[in-house]
Amino acid sequence: MSKLFGQNSQINYNKNIIVALVGNPNVGKSTIFNIVTGATQYVGNYPGVTIDKTIGIKKYKNYAIHFVDLPGIYSLSSYTDDAKITVNFLLNEQVDVIIYVIDSSNLERNLYLFTQIIELNKNVIIMLNMLDLLQAKHKSININQMSNILGLSVFPIIAHKKIGIDTNFLKHIIHLYNNKHISSAKVDYGEDIICEIDKVYKLLAKNKDFINKIHKTWFIIKLLEKDTLAIKLINIFQNKAEILQQVEKSRRHIIEHFNTKIEVEIANKRYGFAKAVVKMTINKQSIKQIDINEIIDDYVLNKYCCIPILLIIIYIIFKFTFAFSEPVVNLFNLFFKFLSFKMSNLIQNSVLKSLIVDGFIGGIGGVFSFFPVLLFMFFSIAFFEDSGYMARASFIMDKILNKFGLTGKSFLPLIIATNGCAVPGMLATRTLESKRDRIITMFIVPYMICGAKIPVCMLIIKALFSYKYQTIVMFCLYIVSIIVALSISKVLSKIISKDYYSHFIMELPPYHLPKLSGLLLKMWERSWLYIRKAWTIVVLTSLFVWGMFTFTLTHSYHNIVEYSIKIINPIFKPIGMDGNKAIALLSGLIAKEMVISTLSTMYSVNNSNKHVCLKDKIHNSQDWSILQGVTFIIFCLTYVPCITSMLIFCKEIEKGKYKWFTLMLFGNTALAWLLSFLTFKIGTLLNLGT
């Protein structure tokens, strides 16, 4: 019992107020959150569920008000994962005040969720956002009237212009915290449904300690709707069987009476309430005006123009990323060179010098050398996401991705992973409703050429191909990665479920110009996931690899490296790889960034000439023909993803994770081996690039 309604949370509740921001998706909850908490305190993430629940603290009059930004939902049920997060938070945590944010240009649907929120019996404040959009539609809203009808205080605001958010509502929150005030508004469900609710309540009331904690109407309706969350809660009851029997009976009764399912009937009643409130509060002036969104959509979503426009925008994203990140990357490299030069002059002890210069600075430098690419990529994606185009893009891609067993919503995770990082890409799959789509999308996300794989490809392409062909080869690699990913998703979709049709339902947000602060925040959020991974895993392993090479290679001949090369040689021999490459690929299991740093460590330890850069070493080396280089890249692109993304993958999948983990580990390796074997053998037969 205590687990379900637990007080075991990370927040310290003493003398604090917990305020949850709830609302439909895309109504401006996060904007309000950022304005209110602002630069005052930390904006931290909960451990575990990283980017979904954000808390920020605002201190006001000796009270610490914890604002919790929750993912947007359409109703309080548990169909999608991000909705589950919100529902679980509202039910299990001790929320003092709920701020219900309403997009006033879309009042009716927003009030539908509101009818469920008031049934939770908590303090609620309404924030009417986007009043300017309402005015643009020549409508006005009677706020006093609305406040009277709903029995709550209503705050009209325009969040993105910071109008209306002042200390007034903070005072009101504190007032509500001290004196509980519950909305007087109620949805009239009609006699029949209320009668059934009472019947179930009588059975529930037998469990006395439980009934005090429950939100009566809401919970029973959820039970009648056979919501999985509600059924799970009922499992601990003694008279569980009796209750379920009554629920079945009530459902049958309502179907007989209304000739529809109870879910439909309840939604009907709730929307009736919402419609009535809208009718009473909104004054319409019937002026027909042109909607700019529809004009843009006419072109962007046209049958003939949509694909070219999408391609142009993807091109813009890539061009922007590479054009702007290149000077920054160079600057970073210069800085690290300068740092290592200074350090090597400062420190006399040779082992310590090697540790700091080769191991530490080399490791961090390797990680940060492509970090700007990631930043700019995330920035440009955030730009198009905030402007409202990405919703359209996934709508366009839906038909194409459907052919490969995915839905349009898989597009955003895939594009985040390209040039970006697979970890935020996998977390972005949370918006996908169906479990099957999520698993397939998460499975193929690591196949995209992520930011960490770019330097590996670049290094080998630059070393082996002449300048003329470098761009074309890189482009071909992108195509290869996409083809591999899509064919895998096709195969997986055939395996998982055959009789399945994808639903794609997406609200198209209005276009607007994104704000810089919002873009930077989003960019930082996604990059932070990467940085955290880099600090912990990559730096440690690069130190480990450094230690292994310096200490073993100099002291004895028959060392660990040589021994392990001997073991794995028969596997890598048929695909034309020698021991050095095999070791580099093995270290890439931990993170793809490691491939380059391992190669450079190995060549610098083996080679007498330490001042030649890695590119030239590969260029002059006997071991690297063009074919071998291409095989190496293809193996690198398709084999096991880095350890962090595998862990995230397992964490996100609840059921059968070991099965998927094994498939990812061995299936990918087998596939990579097969692909590179084919490339190598065909290349050798046709005498290409040997």
């Binding site: 359409y74 879309n106 879910e263 939604a267 709508f395 839906d398 194409i400 169906s434 609200e507």
Partner: protein
């Protein structure tokens, strides 16, 4: 060998003919034409309608999709404005309760509407 080839051509032609006939029928004697000719308020699939205002009747699908649509506001009797049915692969955009919603073909063909 020659017999086989002839057979194939025959089957192919039959298929093409069927498809063409089907397209022709859909164009001429489709529901929409029916509606325009007779002004009869029949119940039609959302994929077959043209630009205009309709009334949502019901959806024939599994529970998950039905609840999802319910919470988006698809309640019997709601006005549905079809904005764009010219999307890629039969995907359409509608406006319901002041919100523009994109639906793919698989969803749209399960939604039944009625001309007001």
């Amino acid at each position: 060998m020659s017999f086989n080839l002839k057979n194939y051509i025959k089957i192919l032609r039959q298929r093409c003919y069927k498809r063409l006939l089907f397209l022709y029928l859909r164009k001429v004697k489709g529901f929409n034409k029916c509606l325009q000719c007779t002004n009869h308020s029949a119940i039609i699939k959302l994929t077959d309608v043209q630009f205009g205002t309709y009334e949502f009747v019901m959806i024939c699908c599994d529970d998950t999709l039905e609840y999802k649509l319910l919470e988006m506001g698809f309640v019997t009797g709601t006005e549905v404005l079809v904005i764009n049915n010219n999307g890629l692969g039969g995907n359409i955009i509608i406006k319901i309760r002041e919100t523009r919603i994109a639906l793919n073909y698989n969803v749209a063909k399960r939604i039944l509407v009625k001309k007001i």
